[in-house]
């Protein structure tokens, strides 16, 4: 019953999206604007149907309806309800259902907010969204069908992959990633809509999707950070980033999207880079589909790759269609995409943005090539290879350090042309903070040139970006006599995108400090201990008290109780564990972390004697790692500030007319 409802809802949704995608262009070509309501109705109907199907699948999971193939695949009566619900995205088919639902939601929302707009941009964008939705419906009807009948109906199922039910972050990382990935379909659809409607010369498609792009970018950023955190908390190796293909798959579109967020400002402000921005957005969308192909087709074996089926060919076909269609569209519109402005001076914000884009693009290609190389090598030469971390580190660290520098210098540079003394004044706080941090790192024992440079430029970027807030607030206090907090909040709400961007920059600095410190000053110690024996790493001592085991609802747990010592005093308990799931004979390591502002004490249980008389434990001191997660939060706050509606139109009007004022100065 549930199965038929869910399954038929997708069939109808596929029909509706297909009809809408054909009907839309017909209505537009004939100039029948009154028909557009049917096009938009198709978008809303699709959302309702996919929601119905998704809800039915969740109901099937929760009610243990093992007649549904997906439930029989990932469900189990012993799994707690919470993990049962989130196993919606625990395997291929369910994750495509969830994807289609998120896409349906975005499409319905963006069309609803823009339904009254004149012109053909929105109708064409709606058509594009329907076409993308249709692709995912085809997946659900073909290679990723979660609603197949199972007969005879099994009494119980195997439950989700143990790795995916071991940590609460599994409820956070995947939805964030989908909200990010899928959200990037919106600016892509409007870019295509702009090219189809010929409205590509003005910036309408960029302005209409500005908030949607920042929203998607914010979700994608949060997803990447949450994925790092999951890897840190679950995999037990004490790291958070391994240049694994699936990590790269989420990072590659983030790089182009971040480049786009910067380069659109050049277009809006100076009328330059129009062609480039279109390509960046189309490229970002293709890279999200490529990322899904890499992680979902089974071409790379990992926790993300679920099956080896035909679905890969569908993705490759879709990528080919998108690339061909957009290539034709871009070529057809190229005469309208000329530059209105030009570079006035080498020392200007435009230059900083150009360099930013150059480095982000090169960075993207580096990660992309490194990720795809093993696939190509296996296909062409028949050898099994992997591209190791040394390649990615060697290539990317210089680029990351340069981007940190640009992040500091960019906000200080005015548009068009910089004046020397003013620039010096603005850069000074950054230089001071940077030098202090670099010297501190040297004293702490950092000897790697890139590490010292990273501290220098992180401090530099921090100083310059914070100075922007200080200078703006002081100007308001002086000009309007406002109190400090009022002045700061009005400053930010007067130009949310600009100051949201600076907040995001500060978040990046925190992430960079966490990463650099943890790579440079990490210390680890491994030992086999009897009860009462202790182990010291970087001045932190832990004592082994005892090993224990217990049964939980869905698993069995072996753990070690470790006491954190300060002299002879016990200041805390850390309990690293191994979780045994009934479906897997190997345990899932479950390290435990004690976080402090200065770093994490990370303990992982490596081995134990069957009788618990000794254990082998690895203790890692991870300096500043909590800063990475906090920096991720600050990045998201920056995105939220950028998305919230503008309260004061005044500041923007002033800057647009070029009125000289302390506030309008240097606004993006």
């Amino acid at each position: 019953m549930t199965r038929l409802l869910a399954s038929n809802a997708i069939v109808v949704a596929a029909a509706v999206t297909a009809l809408g995608a054909v009907f839309g262009p017909v209505a537009i070509r004939r100039g029948r604007r009154e028909w557009l309501m049917y096009l938009y109705a198709a978008v809303y109907t699709n959302f309702v149907l996919v929601s119905l199907s998704t809800l039915a699948l969740v109901y099937g999971l929760v009610s243990h309806d093992f007649s549904i193939s997906y439930v029989a695949q990932v469900g189990s009566r012993a799994t707690p309800t919470f993990y049962t619900i989130i196993s919606l995205w625990g395997a291929l088919e369910g994750s495509i259902v969830f994807w289609a639902w998120v896409l349906g939601m975005y499409a319905a929302a963006v069309v609803w907010f823009n339904r009254t707009r004149e012109g053909n941009l929105v109708p064409y964008a709606a058509t594009t969204l329907l076409a993308v939705a249709l692709f995912f419906h085809i997946l659900l009807l073909g290679p990723a069908n979660p609603f197949q009948a199972v007969f005879p109906v099994p009494f119980d199922g195997p439950g989700p992959n143990p790795l995916l039910q071991n940590h609460i972050l599994m409820a956070v990382h995947p939805p964030l990633l989908y909200l990010g990935y899928v959200g990037l379909t919106v600016p892509f659809a409007f870019a295509v809509g702009a090219m189809l409607s010929g409205e590509v010369a003005d910036d309408a498609w960029i302005r209409l999707t500005r908030r949607w792009t920042i929203t998607a970018w914010g979700f994608l950023t949060a997803a990447i950070i949450a994925g790092m955190w999951w890897s840190y908390e679950v995999l037990g190796w004490g790291g958070y980033w391994a240049w694994d293909p699936v990590e790269n798959a989420s990072f590659i579109p983030w790089l182009t999207c971040t480049a786009y967020l910067h380069s659109v400002m050049v277009q809006e402000r100076r009328g330059m880079l129009k062609l480039w921005n279109l390509n960046l957005m189309v490229g970002t969308f293709v890279l999200t589909i490529l990322g899904t192909f890499l992680t979902r087709s089974g071409i790379i074996s990992s926790v993300h790759a679920f099956t080896q089926g035909t679905i890969g060919y569908f993705f490759l076909g879709f990528i080919a269609i998108v690339l061909l269609a957009t290539l034709v569209l871009v070529a057809g519109n190229s005469d309208k995409l000329g530059s209105e402005g030009r570079l006035d001076a080498p020392l200007s914000r435009e230059t900083a943005f150009l360099l930013n884009n150059l480095f982000f693009t090169v960075f993207m290609f580096t990660v992309l090539i490194g990720t795809l190389f093993p696939l190509v090598a296996e296909a062409v030469r028949g050898v099994k290879v992997s591209v190791g971390t040394p390649f990615f580190n060697r290539m990317s660290i210089p680029m990351m350090v340069t981007l940190l520098f640009l992040m500091g210098v960019g906000p200080a540079l005015p548009w068009r042309k910089a004046a020397g003394p003013e620039l010096q004044r603005r850069l000074l706080p950054g230089v001071v903070v940077g030098v202090v941090l670099a010297v501190a790192a040297l004293i702490a024992g950092a000897r790697n040139a890139y590490a010292v440079l990273a501290f220098l430029f992180a401090g530099f970027a921090l100083g310059v970006n914070v100075e922007e807030f200080v200078r703006g607030t002081i100007a308001r206090v002086k000009a309007h006599g406002e109190a400090w907090p009022t002045a700061l909040s009005r400053l930010v709400s007067g130009n949310r995108r600009r100051y949201g961007g600076y907040v995001a920059h500060i978040g990046v600095v925190m992430v960079a400090l966490g990463v650099t410190a943890s790579v440079t000053f990490k210390a680890e110690q491994e030992a086999t201990l009897k009860p009462g024996e202790s182990l010291t790493v970087a001045g932190h001592t832990v004592r082994f008290k005892g090993a224990w085991g217990r049964e939980e609802q869905q698993r069995q747990v072996i753990g070690a109780t470790m006491e954190v010592m300060a002299g002879d005093r016990v200041t805390g308990i850390i309990e690293p564990r191994m979780n045994y799931y009934p479906t897997s004979s190997s345990p899932v390591p479950t390290p435990q972390v004690r976080s402090m502002l200065t770093g994490d004490l990370y303990l992982n249980l490596m081995a134990f004697r069957p009788d618990g008389s000794t254990i082998t434990v690895k203790a890692i001191w991870e300096p500043l790692v909590p800063w990475i997660w906090m920096g991720g939060l600050v990045l998201c706050i920056g995105a939220i500030i950028g998305v919230l509606p503008q309260r004061q139109r005044l500041a923007e009007a002033q800057s647009a007319s070029g009125a000289p004022s302390a506030l309008a100065e240097g606004q993006p």
Binding site: V362, F365, T366, V385, W548, S585, S586
Partner: protein
């Protein structure tokens, strides 16, 4: 007009130089950092070529070859694929599932002394999660531990 044309060619040339430099860097980076997946037989067949290169060695732990010094955290064993066999030296505790006959992937370099120095040791899981057979369940394997009270 000629000025514009000249800047255009200049820009194109600059882009070309950048692309070539970038390609060269990538090529160099890949060339020295690609890790090959090899079995003991394949690694031995490389002869002198096989020494001191990053390799992922895959095979089974040869039964009876494991020497594990718990105090010094020093592990020695042999990886075999039925025909070839290579001695491996590793630091740190092996994964809990490490045992005779287990499929493993060892990352490291094959030294000229004929010992493979491992930097990481992974137990190979088949893609399908295999349920433990009777006697493999922790309640049975670690009876005394499961009874002791949790803290």
């Amino acid at each position: 007009m000629t000025m514009r044309k000249r800047t255009k060619w200049g820009a194109l040339a600059a882009v070309g130089v950048l692309v070539i430099a970038f390609g060269w860097l990538i090529y160099g980076g890949l060339d020295s950092n690609v890790v090959y997946f090899l079995t003991p037989k394949e690694l031995l067949a490389k002869g002198v070529e096989g020494y001191d290169k990053p390799v992922r060695l895959g095979g089974q732990v040869k039964p009876g070859s494991v020497v594990w010094d718990e105090k010094a955290l020093d592990l020695r064993f042999s990886v075999t694929d039925g025909t070839g066999e290579i001695a491996v030296h590793s630091r740190g505790a092996p994964p809990q599932m490490f045992k005779d006959g287990q499929g493993v992937v060892v990352e490291g370099r094959y030294g000229r002394d004929g010992v493979f120095m491992s930097t990481s040791l992974m137990v190979k899981h088949s893609n399908e999660y295999k349920a433990p057979t009777k006697g493999e369940r922790p309640t049975e394997m670690y009876k005394s531990l499961m009874k002791s009270p949790g803290t």
